[in-house]
């Protein structure tokens, strides 16, 4: 048994405790020590996840590097970790984004300086970086857990540090009542996700009760999925539907899927740009990831039954999110609605039940994470320079800060899936995968891309071009630290846009395994229409 996976999750967890315990102070050096420690920990985690991805054999077993420690024997709960291609890719995404977010939020959590020179909240820096590391640890466990219960616990526990990150560290561009708005956003985030979690808990208990009745007193995911696909564990169809909905509800709130999305614009709008990236690019990915791993693996029949309905919801999400993004006045809320549209694509790719669709969805998770991070973080730099989030307060920035404007343009272009950029590959795969089975849905979803061009380019045009607006004149260009933040993200967006093979190689075996669990295969290429006209549905 290797300890690699446990170590990968433990490093940020221990780092969080360590960071929280570091001495606070008003002087710059102590703060810098804290930040350096946290950044080092996150880089160490990145190295470990890279080792996981390197050691992962894409031709090997479904779950690799597995570890298992008995936890509550009476209930068949063990702390089991294992990695498949999808988990490896998403763990890597998390580990890449966390140091970037830290670097981007370098000064966002400094203690507030009062007019009289004293400081408030001296432990703010420690708290922020510790919370980010805690989120990283929990997200990693969620991606690597092969025990349903362990996954559930960390999926839920994540809410606590996220709540404090949203509620405690706001965007300073908010306005006079930003404190109240922020705590509203944090509570809304918490209550939505808690509701989802409670419903899922009921389903988790139900699943165990049914499984233990038939002699599978275990939460071990491979054991359960194998038993289900071998027909040894038979869940009554009504119960299976109920359990599926219980799991799916929690994941749909987290992802978020229309109409459960309304917490996301609040949370992303009020949080710092770094936290917003954590929400949309890291934490929300656990939701879509879990649909793929748990809903499809554990409830194959119910997944097929509800698949069409979910496709319709995701289609509504794609169009609705994009339309609302076009109409936004606030840059961060615009990014949030754009993300809702993108999550629609991801979920559509998952429930189209084609290998292109699901590979595309997994790649989409990664690419959306990277490109949105770049977009949002540059937007954050822009907002902190102007002290406002309103699009109307900007104009002509490209004349004053050309590098900033250039990277922002790259972010916009990545979001609208320009060919050559990473999101193009995944969006194309999702659309092809959907179209081959549901041509009508594929056609409507394509309008999402058109709308994406609209909101992304309009945003660029309004903020960056035209005459220089008052308040923008003295805007400085990107600093070295900020360039360090943007450079890896831009590089990855371009690289994965032209050469996605390393990712697809990792992802494809896992996707095929998932598809075979739901007894779905790709429609025969020669008769794409015939394949959709019945037959496949059960």
């Amino acid at each position: 048994m290797s300890y690699l996976l446990t170590a990968t999750c433990a490093v940020p967890a221990v780092g969080a405790v360590l960071t929280a315990a570091l001495p606070a102070g008003s002087d710059e050096t102590r703060r810098r020590t804290t930040k350096a420690v946290a950044l080092t920990v996150s880089l160490a985690t990145l190295v470990l996840t890279a080792v996981i991805a390197a050691r992962f054999d894409s031709g090997g077993a479904r779950y690799q590097l597995t570890e298992s420690y008995s936890w509550i024997r009476s209930f068949g709960i063990s702390f089991s970790l294992g990695v498949d291609g999808i988990g490896a890719v998403l763990a890597l995404l998390t580990a890449v984004l966390v140091p970037v977010v830290m670097l981007a939020s370098w000064n966002d959590a400094d203690p507030v300086r009062n007019p009289d020179g004293t400081f408030e909240n001296l432990r703010r820096t420690q708290a922020f970086f510790a919370l980010v590391l805690a989120v990283e640890a929990m997200v990693l466990v969620s991606f690597l857990a092969t025990d349903v219960f362990v996954f559930y616990v960390f999926f839920e526990a994540m809410l606590i540090p996220m709540y404090f990150l949203i509620g405690g560290f706001g965007d300073r561009a908010g306005g006079p009542d930003s404190g109240a708005q922020r705590s509203y956003a944090a509570v809304k985030f918490l209550l939505y996700n808690l509701l989802g979690g409670l419903v899922m808990l009921a389903a988790v208990v139900g699943l165990y009760v049914i499984a233990s009745d038939q002699g599978f007193a275990s939460f071990d995911l491979p054991t359960l999925t194998n038993a289900i696909s071998d027909g040894k564990l038979v869940i009554d169809p009504t119960a299976e539907k109920a359990l599926f909905l219980g799991f799916f509800f929690a994941f749909a709130v987290k992802a978020p899927l229309w109409p459960l999305h309304t917490w996301l614009p609040n949370a992303m709008g009020e949080a710092t740009a770094g936290t917003a990236v954590l929400i949309t690019a890291v934490v929300d990915k656990v939701g879509t990831f879990a649909m793929l791993r748990f809903c499809l693996g554990l409830f194959p029949h119910a997944s097929r039954t509800f698949g069409p309905a979910i496709l319709v919801l995701s289609l509504i999400g794609i169009v609705y999110g994009a339309l609302l993004a076009v109409g936004q006045k606030d840059i961060k809320r615009l990014v949030a609605y754009a993300s809702i549209s993108h999550f629609g694509f991801i979920i559509m790719g998952i429930f189209a039940f084609t290998s292109q669709g699901q590979s595309g969805a997994t790649l989409y998770m990664v690419n959306h994470g990277i490109s949105t991070a770049a977009w949002m973080l540059v937007a954050g730099f822009l907002i902190s320079r102007r002290g406002s989030r309103l699009i109307a307060d900007f104009g002509g920035v490209q004349k004053v800060a050309p590098v900033l404007a250039g990277t922002f343009l790259l972010g916009c272009l990545a979001t609208l899936s320009l060919p050559g950029m990473a999101p193009f590959v995944s969006e194309f795969l999702v659309l092809v995968g959907t179209f081959s089975k549901y041509p009508a849905l594929g056609i409507v979803a394509t309008f999402g891309i058109v709308l994406a061009a609209l909101y992304a380019l309009l945003l660029y045009q309004r903020t960056m071009t035209g005459p220089v607006k008052a308040g923008v004149e003295g805007m400085s260009d990107l600093k070295v630290r900020e360039l360090l933040v943007v450079a890896p993200l831009v590089a990855l967006t371009l690289l994965l846009g032209v050469y996605p093979k390393p990712l697809t190689d990792l992802v494809n075996p896992a996707v095929n395994a998932t598809l075979s669990q739901v007894h779905q295969s790709d429609p025969a290429p020669a008769h794409p229409v015939a394949a959709t006209s019945g037959g496949e549905q059960k």
């Binding site: 509550i72 559930y152 526990a157 705590s183 509570v187 209550l191 009921a202 208990v205 165990y208």
Partner: protein
Amino acid sequence: MNHALYLAATGGNSPSIPAPHVEYAQLSPMLIVFGAAVLGILAEAFLPRKARYASQLTVALAGLCGGFAAVVILAAQGHGSTKSGLLAMGAVALDGPALFIQGVILLTAIVAVLGYGERRLEPRLNGSSVDAFAAQGAAVPGSEQERQATMAGFTTTEVYPLTLFAVGGMLLFPAANDLLTMFVALEVFSLPLYLLCALARRRRLLSQEAAVKYFLLGAFASAFFLFGTALLYGYAGSVSLPEIADVIAGTAPTTPALAVTTQNDALLLIGLAMLAVGLLFKVGAVPFHSWTPDVYQGAPTPVTGFMAAATKTAAFGALLRLFYVAFPGLRWDWRPVMWGVAILTMVVGAILAVTQQDVKRLLAYSSIAHAGFILTGVIATNKQGLGAVLFYLLAYSFVTLGAFAVVTLVRDSKGEATHLSSWAGLGRRSPLLAAVFALFLLAFAGIPLTSGFTGKFAVFQAAAAGGATPLVIVGVLSSAVAAFFYIRVIVLMFFSDPQPGGPAVAVPSAMTATAIALGVLVTLGLGLLPQYFLDLASKAAVFVR
């Protein structure tokens, strides 16, 4: 016949009645506690007022710790497993469930007595610090006598021996192996509780009202129990639980009398129903729950905590023994009824809790809902169910004690501030206390990593294995409802703005702090690493017959 009785009673030359053989060593947990109670009465009578508090507290804690040590020693000697057997001529059973429940009750009582001893919360009177209990129980509320007693700084130290008597009765209750012993135990622990309820220092009328309600309804329930005992004696010709079981199963040697009475199932069924009413009242199950909110609210909060934890534990112990030892043969008759009771209890407890505005009433309704969850384990009628109930009782007791201990600390000028509106924003003023209370609420709600989750999971699993899946569905759904009102309180504490002039959090002495700390420790311990205790409960889950 009369003649023979006369001879025996006068100790004549009849050799047929031997002196009862009593295993003192194996009864020692109860004997130690009763002994300490008697010692406490003597101390109350002979010691000067000033010396009473310290000596009563010492005697009570020493007695309870001694009792617990005796339980541990008996368990270590194997009396809970291999050497379990009947004591005192078959009147008392010594087996795994009895020892486990006695251990839980004693631990509960130790923590509760720590709360009784708290004297730092009330303002000092006449130079002496006072506790949560009335200055003089006999003084009429609002009278001159009461004012004088209060100003003199008197305290009621009788609460310690009263509690010890109650604990002694509770130890006997789940171990009683015949219906009469069970009834005596029921009375022994009930009477002191009625008194304790009436002894609140503040809001005395409310407290006395609670005591009267509890007493009247409790007496009624006791009467039911006694009547049930009589009917069952009429049916089976015995009050011993195993003998009743034998008669029901038809394995008892037939006598002419039995041949007549066992024709009449009405005696048996009505008798069983009446016994169940008596016990379900003590448990606080719907529809016998209506006393719970009033009594929990009116009683002094340390007593409420003790009652909520220990009474429930003892009563469930007796309920289990009754159903598992005496009436397993009648399973098909009582299970449907108990299904109804359990469903009603879970649903009514959870739904009514949503509308509560007072913390103590809220906890009362939550205790009703929990009684329902525990009942699902009782209904499982398998070894798993028994072990799960034992574990649940342990987990629930400490959460309850901790929660009520926190309630004692949130105070304004009129004493404890129990109205929920005054708890708004508590998390901002004293984050630690609010966080601790939030932990207890999460445990009540059954959130993973707390003891509440482990307990609920265990009973639901056992109930499903015992074929009560619909019950599990109702349980899970009402848990979800219940979770909402617990989370509502958390939201109130952390996300609402504090009221101006709201309550302050008093700084307790080491005793209440210890009680709360133990609550937190057990709640987290049984949530994170429950395996040892699950094994213990499962090993204990065999009744002796």
